[in-house]
Symmetry: C2
Amino acid sequence: MGPLDSYLPYLLNRAGVRIAASFSEEVRPLGATLQMWRVLAALRERDGRRMGDLSDTTSIEVSTLTRLVDAMEQKGLVARHRDAGDARAVMLHVTAAGRRLTERLLPIAERYEAVALAGFSAAETKTLKAALRRLYGNMDALGR
Amino acid sequence: MGPLDSYLPYLLNRAGVRIAASFSEEVRPLGATLQMWRVLAALRERDGRRMGDLSDTTSIEVSTLTRLVDAMEQKGLVARHRDAGDARAVMLHVTAAGRRLTERLLPIAERYEAVALAGFSAAETKTLKAALRRLYGNMDALGR
DNA sequence: CCTCGTTATTTGCATTTACAAATAAATGGA
DNA sequence: TCCATTTATTTGTAAATGCAAATAACGAGG
């Protein structure tokens, strides 16, 4: 293997960690964390989701998610409801307070997207995002 | 903001987490962790580094790194030496055992690179890596 | 309508992680 | 030289994380 900074997982991690660290710091004064934002963003896209579903879309381990949702529930951001059809499953819903927090986080998230992609043309952005999705899909080859 | 899977930090995190999870699982039988691999890879590139230097290149928090290096030292993979010129600093060196472990991890890392980039042309790969470096640099705008 | 294997979530517990404070040494004036 | 400030690392401590086991409910087959 050549130099570290030509190693893809390295580049990926480095960029991800850096964005995550900045974002975390920035939303802390709002009483939010990066992981909370991920849950809220997922619920904004579609409200009323199962824990397992949320775990998949947020890439947060399901046992970690349980405790994160505990904390968010305590803060009144989300509410658990048993699924009517399947009593094993939990449906997670955002509350009014959760929506208010989401509204405050959205512009921050948009700013991060803009800063990260500063100087990228629309075509370059599209190519990059497509590559990241493809890369993610490629990992199927190693088994889930 | 549009759908989650068009949000760059989301795509970045998702891909990174997935690669990291697979890699971690795979190297566990060897008694290694992903973070250990990062340290070993950094030392492979240049041996004899300060903690702060390693923290920067691996994106591991310096206090976390201290304890990780404690563990690696216990396993005999690395050794701390006080810097001759500056008694505050520690120089971290890989040991023979550390090099042996590195040799075993290298082919795994190379396989991950290959799997992740399966189907990417050389040009696409180059573009992607350049974009990730650029993205990382763009975050300077938000302050370190 | 039981049982057995599967699925969804939570809990137990040990480890990892990060922020902040502590320690220790260098550096640059007064 | 002495002191104040900065730099490098470690340590204290609380929170986050992840694996494995526990719990609970579903669903298929007999």
